[in-house]
Amino acid sequence: MALVQIENARFGYDGTDIFRDLSFTVSKGEIFCLLGPNGCGKTTLLDCILGTHRLREGSITINGQDISTLRSGRIAHHLAYVPQTHERTFPYTVKEIVLMGRAAYTGVFGSPSRADAELAESALETVGVQHLQNRPYTRLSGGEGQLVMIARALVQETPVIILDEPTAHLDFRNELIILEKIVELVRDTGVSIIMATHFPNHIFYFENKFIATQVALLHEGRFLDVGSPGETLTENTMEMLYGIETRIMSHSSDGIEHKQILPINTMDIKYHA
């Protein structure tokens, strides 16, 4: 049974629609990637799934429950969220930040318990930054900060984690660390991931690691295609989506095939339109 089911989703501001007729399902232990150019509505779609915006039409169900009927406290039991950029304000310690993931389990006038603190420590250990727990999180590097945000999502103990461009602004190594962590989490905990990304190669990376992966290409408010990375990410769809000429490459090492997409050059934007 599908864990997350989205049917005929339509949303927009004022008179115009940002997207419509979007349908897809996400199963347990699956990574669902949203790919599309800047401003195509990826983040808006994620906001609708999180319940920040309400769909104009269609439905979003998680574990068989329509999210429009759920209060934010209940939605947070099903979905955790890792933001694209997190504006750091007060220098809370890393542990205090991770503990905020327990808000949905804490009474209105309560604060996290010792059990919650242990959960936060083990989540920090899972993502490998336990040594940072007493540091002010305003002084972390971009990669460390993103790992802490993932730890905060983990203590929410949800079946689904939503990541909005989790590797934006990260260097080459930190980018790979985040991708490895996502693969590890899906393998070890069976969590499902919905992820917006700008990098087709990230999607191939998951498939190369034998993780169940789906990709949806969001183009002008509709899905151009939804399916497995190998079938969906083609030279043809890249041309339609981004107006660029690409080659799909494959490199074999240790008997495992690694697919990659290689950009060649941009094409005439008039032709693209």
Partner: protein, 339 residues
Amino acid sequence: MSAGPSWKKIVTYSVLVLAPVLCIVLSLCLGRYPLPISAIPGVLLGKFSGGDQISEMYRTIVWDIRMPRALLGALVGGSLAVSGAAFQGLFRNPLVSSGILGVSSGAGFGAALAILLFNNMAATYPCALGFGMLAVFLSYMIGRVYKKTPAIMLVLGGVIVSSVFSALVSFTKYVADPYEQLPTIVFWLMGSLASAGYRDIQFAGIPMLLGMAGLLGIRWRINVLSMGDKEAHALGINTTWTKGFVVFCATLATAGAVCVSGVIGWVGLVIPHIGRMLVGNNNTVLIPVSISLGACFLILVDNLGRILTGSEIPLGILTALVGGPFFVYLLKKTKGGGW
């Protein structure tokens, strides 16, 4: 190992409660008529009730003059500081103070209007309280675009409402009788606890205590709110309700404080920062620490105001004169605590 943190907790909270109590006891001794500290326990416990003149005078000074003033100072200081801390977290902005949503200018106008119309101090309290709450309500309604209350719109609403009420205060000053009403208005706006009595505590104590209790209750959620609306929502918090509750409690506390003490700046801006330098940013600790620090600070500054010169120095002036250098000293000492 497991006993460690809970001991630390007990010690911390004892200090937080004891510090204002000590400040209150100290302020019972200080003044134009100094009392020896050794006489205080006797007076407080009701001994010396033999009826001789000295003990009768001690009783009057301690119970009728200095005690209500110290208690009111503690309540006002705690209220202003805790509202400031809560608003800073809510608006994710360290430059925000307890008056950000216009409560001080609203209350100022209410008091000025009451002085102008009724020429009677008894009418100023309800007027100041009412207009203070009205100002925040107006700011909140202005901020409610799109049926949500984004922090930046609330601040904008507060700025607009504050400037309108400031203009109205100027207008009441302009039309006030310059020999009696105008000085009263001006002195009220400078802030003072000089007229404090038990009636003030009865009237303003309830909103102040309710507001402080509400903020103490919701304090951990202020951490979560400071992550921003979208994240706080995704973490499972009803942001509209929670923000409304914080604004309501902080307004109750501030309006209660302003209506009896006048406009006392500085406390609601800087005491929370001093708290941050001492104990960090976690509101679970910062909120109670702000209450305690604010209470101590205002009692001590009020004592200075009483004893420094022959006539009293208005509180609003002294809080800044004393607090400013102290703040700079702490900033140097703690290197700002991670900012």
